[in-house]
Amino acid sequence: MRRTRRTFLGAAVIALSLVLSACQSGGDDNAGDDSGKKESKGTITVGVSAAFAENQIVAEMYAQVLEHHGYTVKKQLSIDSREISQPSLEKGEIDVKPEYLGSLLTFVGKDSGATASSDADKNAEAIDKILEAKGLKLLDHSEANDTNAIVVTRKTADAKKLAKVSDLTSIAGQLTFGGPPECPSRPFCIPGLKEKYGIEFKSFKPLDVGGPLTVAALEGDEVDVALLFSTSSVISKKGFVVLEDDKALQTAENIAPVCNPKKVDEEAQQLLNDVSEKLTTSNITALNAEVEIDKKDPADVAKAFLEKEGLLD
């Protein structure tokens, strides 16, 4: 659920990705011609779970790896939210998209009451069961885990000797916490911190969803502790310290491809698994920085990564 909210970043992102996908659909035809030289394989439509930088980068990786190996690829990288992308996958409008284990399980497990945990394998197993009935398949999940991170500034971490979230328990009464406005009613946020860690902050400031306001507030000492995303490029850029979630409050949000096996054959599935194998929290964070901070094109960033990892050989 929280994933979809990043897309509220605005129409600009959507508009941009519309333009991008429009440009790319022009290129697809050529790609189709190229693949005609080799053995012609099927057409696969790559989507996103929601249109934000990280998801688009990974979707580009899927698309380029498949295209390189002779598949005809179409891209739908401007889908707004999981509320749209998941039905699209079920109806066959898209054939594969990068997903996040915890968020996907929470979404598809709504009816069965399945809940996401901090264990990636357990989440994946639970998703498998639910998706099988729908004719969909979750492929291998990567190490890259984009989950909620409890973050402090380097100064605060040093002054108060903080390394783990549980280090906050005794001093939380003197600290101000900042996070998304929904924080007071979300299990991963204030209620969970209280229940699992016994943390009760002096006060809470409603900011944005891991966005610029939260960063500004943390940087300007308006809040002492803040909630960001673990793969957010600003964490390393600003020298923030992520406190270790030592009591496993946050759900495992490892990035994994979810696909329709009728369209994505065994060979293609293996290609996507190869991508997952190379992704880690730290390398996807660096790629996010290239798009979010250096304003590079997700397609170029994905291509450079795939080449470096030898996936386009």
Binding site: P181, P206, L213, A216, E222
Partner: protein, 235 residues
């Protein structure tokens, strides 16, 4: 219709009304920040408007500059101001919002004030001069009272805009009635969103009505009296 009854129930629940994040507290915050912004706007708009109206000089330049305040979206001002106020140690939400609302409040007050003074019949001013009034006396005894109804219209426009826009404060972590709308969006609580929107609308309408009655009070009798045929008041 179901939504409306849920909203009605929302307003009846004591936990929504009381406490530091209840309706009463948020309403007070909203009125405080709005009143401050309008007062600050008056501090600039009123004297400037009177001077321009009285001297009939500089109206183009000042009006153009002031109207820039209307052209730049308040949200943009908020976003631009935020990093500076944080750096200056002025905190997150309050001062950026005050700045944005202040810039919003100036143009209507300024414009209405100088137009109000300017449209006074030059003969009236001449007559006052002929009676030996000083410039200051003309301003105080002739121009301000005659311009008062239009000046109040300026305040009314400014106040209504400010009250409606003060909702933005919630976007930068301050309080006010916008809190209900922003927080409601975050947890997809359409009842709370609707309740917040109704509160803002109600406050804006009340502001409009309040200034409407002030306007009636300050309008000089001779201006508000209907023109009788044969009196020749309107030539």
């Amino acid at each position: 219709m179901e939504l409306l009854s849920q909203v009605f129930d929302w307003f009846l629940a004591p936990e929504n009304l009381n406490g530091p994040s209840g309706v009463v507290a948020r309403l007070v915050e909203h009125m405080q920040i709005s009143a401050l912004a309008v007062c600050l706007g008056a501090l600039v708009g009123l004297p400037l408007g009177l001077v321009i109206g009285h001297t009939r000089k500089g109206e183009f330049v000042v009006a153009s500059v002031a109207n820039l305040g209307r052209a730049i979206p308040s949200f943009a001002i908020l976003a631009i101001a935020l990093p500076f106020t944080i750096r200056a140690g002025l905190g997150l939400g309050f001062w950026p919002t005050v700045l944005a609302l202040w810039l919003l409040a100036i143009p209507p007050i300024l414009t209405n004030t100088y137009v109000g003074v300017q449209v006074i019949d030059p003969d009236t001013i001449e007559a006052a001069k002929g009676m030996g009034m000083s410039e200051g006396q003309i301003l105080r005894k002739i121009e301000v009272p005659l311009a008062a109804p239009l000046i109040v219209v300026g305040f009314r426009t400014a106040a209504v805009q400010v009250v409606a826009t003060a909702t933005l404060a919630a976007l930068v972590a301050w309080g006010g009635l916008g809190r209900f709308i922003i927080d409601g969006f975050a947890i997809r609580d359409s009842v709370q969103i609707t309740a917040g929107a109704l509160l803002v609308a109600a406050l804006a309408v009340s502001t409009e009505l309040l200034f409407g009655s002030i306007q009636k009070i300050v309008t000089p009798k001779m201006l508000s009296a209907p023109v009788q045929p044969g009196q020749g008041a309107a030539t």
